[in-house]
């Protein structure tokens, strides 16, 4: 997308300061010029942009104020999709499965959704807010063995970890311990902030064998035959994925 800007992360969802909404509205207005579908990779961007579009359709006085401020008018109408939806709906998991060159050796991967992909359910309608399965479905097709663990829809702490790390790191640490307890050897995420938090939480504990955190797209790339170096996967991460592991407490999803 040409002329992209920062979506503002969760700050843009706040209602009492309209300036935070200028950014996402501009993004959507520009996207609309090129077409009516916008694909995001990051859960945070997905959440902000999808909800901004929904609110813009309301034609409220707030929207009018935002349009007056921005040089570009936007009144909703962009279909904001997450890359996972593209993979599932526009390409199809079947096709992806066929294209897999390097099955990922039943790697025990924990899918981490966090909260922004799923909530608020009324607006996101991405997957079941408590028992989502889209990421596990993809991982299964790539040859992984997705591990179900209770904390996979818990919040990582978002940007609050930057300001108050001691208070927020326990959140990501409990996610890691939950995943570990269920037998996951690595976590697949779809948001750079989640990745940062989950890694930082472990770093603060001086964990000597931290649970690797990778993007689901890196796993996709690996399964499709792309070199791990090109995917910027380090040795530890690649090992976690491809080394033959015995799985414990896994749940095979459809």
């Amino acid at each position: 997308m040409q002329g992209w800007l920062c979506c503002g992360a969760v700050l843009s969802n706040v209602d009492d300061n309209l300036i935070t909404k200028a950014g996402p509205n501009r993004i959507l207005a520009r996207a609309q010029r090129d077409g009516n579908t916008l694909v995001t990779l990051c859960a945070g961007c997905y959440n902000v942009l999808k909800r901004t579009d929904l609110h813009a359709r309301q034609l409220s006085s707030t929207q009018q104020a935002i349009n007056l401020f921005n040089e570009e008018t936007f009144n909703g109408g962009v279909d904001v999709v997450h890359f996972l939806e593209v993979l599932r709906d526009r390409i199809g998991f079947d096709k992806i499965e066929k294209a897999v060159k390097v099955p990922l050796k039943r790697a025990p991967v924990g899918a981490y959704y966090g909260c922004l992909l799923l909530r608020p359910f009324g607006e996101m309608k991405f997957d079941d807010p408590n028992r989502p399965s889209i990421l596990e479905n993809l991982l299964t097709r790539l040859g992984c063995e997705p591990i179900d663990y209770p904390a996979r829809t818990d919040c990582c702490g978002s940007y609050l970890s930057v300001g108050s790390p001691e208070d927020i790191q326990p959140l990501s640490q409990s996610i890691i311990s939950s995943a570990r307890a269920s037998g996951a050897k690595l976590l697949a995420v779809s948001c750079p902030l989640c990745k940062y938090n989950l890694e930082a939480g472990q770093a603060a504990q001086n964990s000597n064998r931290p649970l690797p955190i990778v993007y689901f797209t890196q796993l996709l790339g690996l399964a499709l035959g792309i070199e791990s170096k090109e995917l910027e996967l380090d040795a530890q991460q690649t090992q976690a994925i491809l080394e033959n592991q015995t799985t414990i407490n896994s749940v095979n999803r459809k």
């Binding site: 608020p120 009324g122 079941d128 807010p129 028992r131 209770p150």
Partner: protein
């Protein structure tokens, strides 16, 4: 006619020149007598009107006074008493909408003049109508055999009126029969319900139709023609002695609905031990086959050891009933807890609904009253109760409160401690609603005596770990996140209207509220009547409530029904629509506009006909008719035009 102008003390006379009104009225054609009085509604005032009618030989009366909403009935009754028809009287509002709202005596008097002229024009064209009398069938239909239906049926039958009690399942008793105890007295539910069920069965004036549903309702208040379809009585109700030999040999086993699937029953079964009627039921859907007959073991066993009461060739039967009133007592079902994905009901066997737990507590239930974990049968030590499960949540589940959960949860927690004294119960709540008599004391007693831990906060997630349930919640009073490692989790799920309510509502033409419960005519002042005349409501089918309220409503509905049937005929307001046949072109525009279905097209004449009994007199059809083929009695278009003309003088 005569015109009577009221001073109403100074309320009218203070802002209106009453003498002028009297003088002007007397000058109008058709007015032979005009007089004023300080308080026309008083005894002397009324006597004045009555005497004037007689002495002055008046044929119509216009009373200019307060709003008709106040005394119209009084003056109309008076007119009737004096020998005229009540529609020979019209009331003109020169107080609430005149003297009280204007501040110029000239303007108020001029307006009062117009208002009186308006009333004169109307009364001139009024027809002397007599109330419409419809006969009343002195029989009553009660739909639903729970405690509400039972109470209502008994009350009506005890007054000597024949009652038909229709119940969709094999036994009356409803939800109350599934309970172990009732709050706040901790009475054994079956013990207090049983005698009432027996009374219903024995009552000479109650005909119980079990395994039956209302299929069709035609007619109107006082005169309903109802078709009730009863499932084939494979087991003869009167002959069966409940020996149970049939069930012993039946090969088909299905989950038992009474125990919410926690136990099994045969395809031929008794709903529960104290079922009324006591006769067994053959569940045709789960029987191995009746057409053609695949098994027949039950019939053989019954012939050999029993009373030979099984007939596998039975047919359904349609009962045609004539009733004057219908009481709807269809009760409730529970919200589908599988939708509450955060709690894991349906996924984790040790997460149960409150009604399932109720069955478990019951001595006649799946575990004979012992509390056991469904997963491994062990005795739970740590139990979590989650109140408001899927309720008070407008965004994702039910928006309303089910009223009884705080109470039964306290009871459940207390019973848990009774049976497992070294256990610990945790109750996650938002509020404690204990408004009934003795309720607050009961909850306090439960909390204090048994050491229950009440945590004010919600549960965000329940998941399984190492055979235990991890319950993640919060205690807002201490501001701390709470995690309980529980053996058993009980969800207090919400009440929803019985699943067949929707279908029944359209069959009987009763309206439902936005949540699917039967709506009442007025939430404050008429909670027991449906807006559809002749249909009364009681119990949880109208809104979530507890047993005392249900019983009170049932008796109330019965009382209203008896009031309806007390007279041999019913009087309806005659100011209804009237069809002027010759002008009707048969276009049918009016027919779908009537909310009461009072209009129909005569197949032979192809003109519209009005059912006087169904018509409520709103006048919408009259306004829609392009041919002026419909008129509203005593508010015809001619009258409206004459009144308007008088208004714009």
């Amino acid at each position: 006619m005569g015109v009577f102008v009221c001073h109403c003390g100074l309320n009218i006379a203070g802002m209106v020149n009453v003498e002028e009104l009297v003088a002007n009225a007397g000058k109008q054609t058709d007015v032979v007598f005009a007089v004023d009085h300080k308080y026309l509604c008083s005894e002397p005032g009324q006597t004045l009107i009555k005497d004037s009618i007689r002495q002055q030989h008046l044929d119509a009366v216009v009373v200019a006074a307060c709003s008709p909403a106040m005394h119209e009935t009084t003056f109309k009754n008076l007119t009737q008493l004096a020998g005229l028809n009540r529609y020979n009287c019209e009331v003109s509002n020169i107080r609430e909408q005149n003297s009280w709202v204007h501040d110029s005596k000239d303007q108020a008097t001029a307006k009062a003049q117009r208002l009186i002229s308006q009333a004169i024009e109307k009364v001139k064209l009024n027809e002397p109508l007599q109330p419409i009398t419809v006969p009343v069938t002195r029989q009553v239909l009660v739909i639903g055999g729970g405690i509400a239906g039972i109470r209502a049926a008994l009350d009506v039958a005890n007054a000597g009126i024949q009652v038909y009690l229709v119940e969709k399942s094999g036994s009356i008793g409803g939800r109350m029969a599934q309970l172990s105890e009732t709050f706040p007295t901790l009475d054994c539910s079956t013990c207090i319900l049983g005698p009432l069920m027996a009374e219903v069965y024995r009552h000479p004036k109650i005909k119980l139709l079990r395994l039956a549903r209302v299929e069709e309702v035609k007619g109107y208040i006082g005169n309903y023609k109802v078709k009730v379809r009863q499932e084939p009585q494979y087991v003869h109700e009167a002959k069966c002695n409940a020996c149970g030999e049939c069930a012993k040999v039946c090969p088909a086993e299905v989950p038992n609905e009474f125990d919410l699937g926690l136990t099994w029953r045969k395809a031929i079964y008794t709903p529960f031990a104290q079922a009324v009627p006591p006769a067994y039921v053959l569940d045709a859907r789960n029987c191995l086959g009746l057409l053609p007959q695949a098994c027949g073991e039950c019939q053989e066993a019954c012939d050999k050891f029993g009373t030979s009461c099984i007939d596998l060739d039975a047919w359904p039967r349609v009962h045609e009933l004539d009733v004057g009133a219908i009481i709807v007592t269809t009760g409730y079902d529970l919200y589908d807890a599988t939708k509450l994905t955060e709690y894991g009901f349906g996924l984790f066997p040790d997460v149960m609904t409150s009604l399932e737990f109720e069955r478990m507590l019951s001595a006649s239930g799946p575990t004979n009253g012992e509390i056991k974990r469904p997963s491994d049968g062990r005795t739970p030590r740590e139990i979590v109760f989650i109140q408001c499960a899927g309720q008070r949540e407008p965004e994702t589940a039910l928006p309303y409160c089910s009223k009884i959960c705080c109470m039964y949860t306290a009871r459940h927690a207390m019973m848990f401690h009774h049976k497992i004294p070294d256990g610990q119960a945790y109750v996650f709540y938002m509020d404690i609603r204990a408004g009934g008599k003795g309720y607050e004391e009961f909850v306090k007693r439960c909390q204090e005596e048994k050491g229950l831990l009440y945590l004010r906060g919600r549960v965000s997630k329940v998941y399984e770990e190492n055979g235990k349930l991890i319950v993640k919640g919060v205690d807002t009073l201490s501001g701390k996140l709470v995690q309980v490692i529980a053996d058993l989790v009980i969800l207090a799920v919400g009440m929803i209207p019985s699943v067949e309510t929707h279908q029944l509502a359209s069959t009987i033409k009763a309206s439902l509220d936005p949540n699917g419960f039967f709506s009442e005519a007025h939430p404050k002042l008429r909670p027991l009547e449906s807006p559809t005349a002749g249909i009364f409501l009681a119990g949880a089918g109208q809104a979530p409530k507890d047993i005392p309220e249900t019983v009170a409503q049932a008796s109330g509905a019965a009382s209203k029904t008896l009031g309806l049937l007390a007279n041999p005929t019913l009087e309806r307001e005659p100011t209804v629509a009237q069809a002027v046949g010759e002008q009707c072109s048969g276009c049918g525009i009016c027919i779908p506009l009537c909310p009461y279905g009072a209009l129909s097209l005569n197949a032979q004449t192809k003109t519209v006909e009005v059912s006087e009994a169904l018509c409520e007199g709103c006048g919408t059809c009259i306004a829609s008719c392009p041919s002026s083929a419909l008129t509203l009695r005593n508010l015809t278009d001619d009258q409206l035009i004459a009144m308007i003309e008088a208004t714009v003088q």
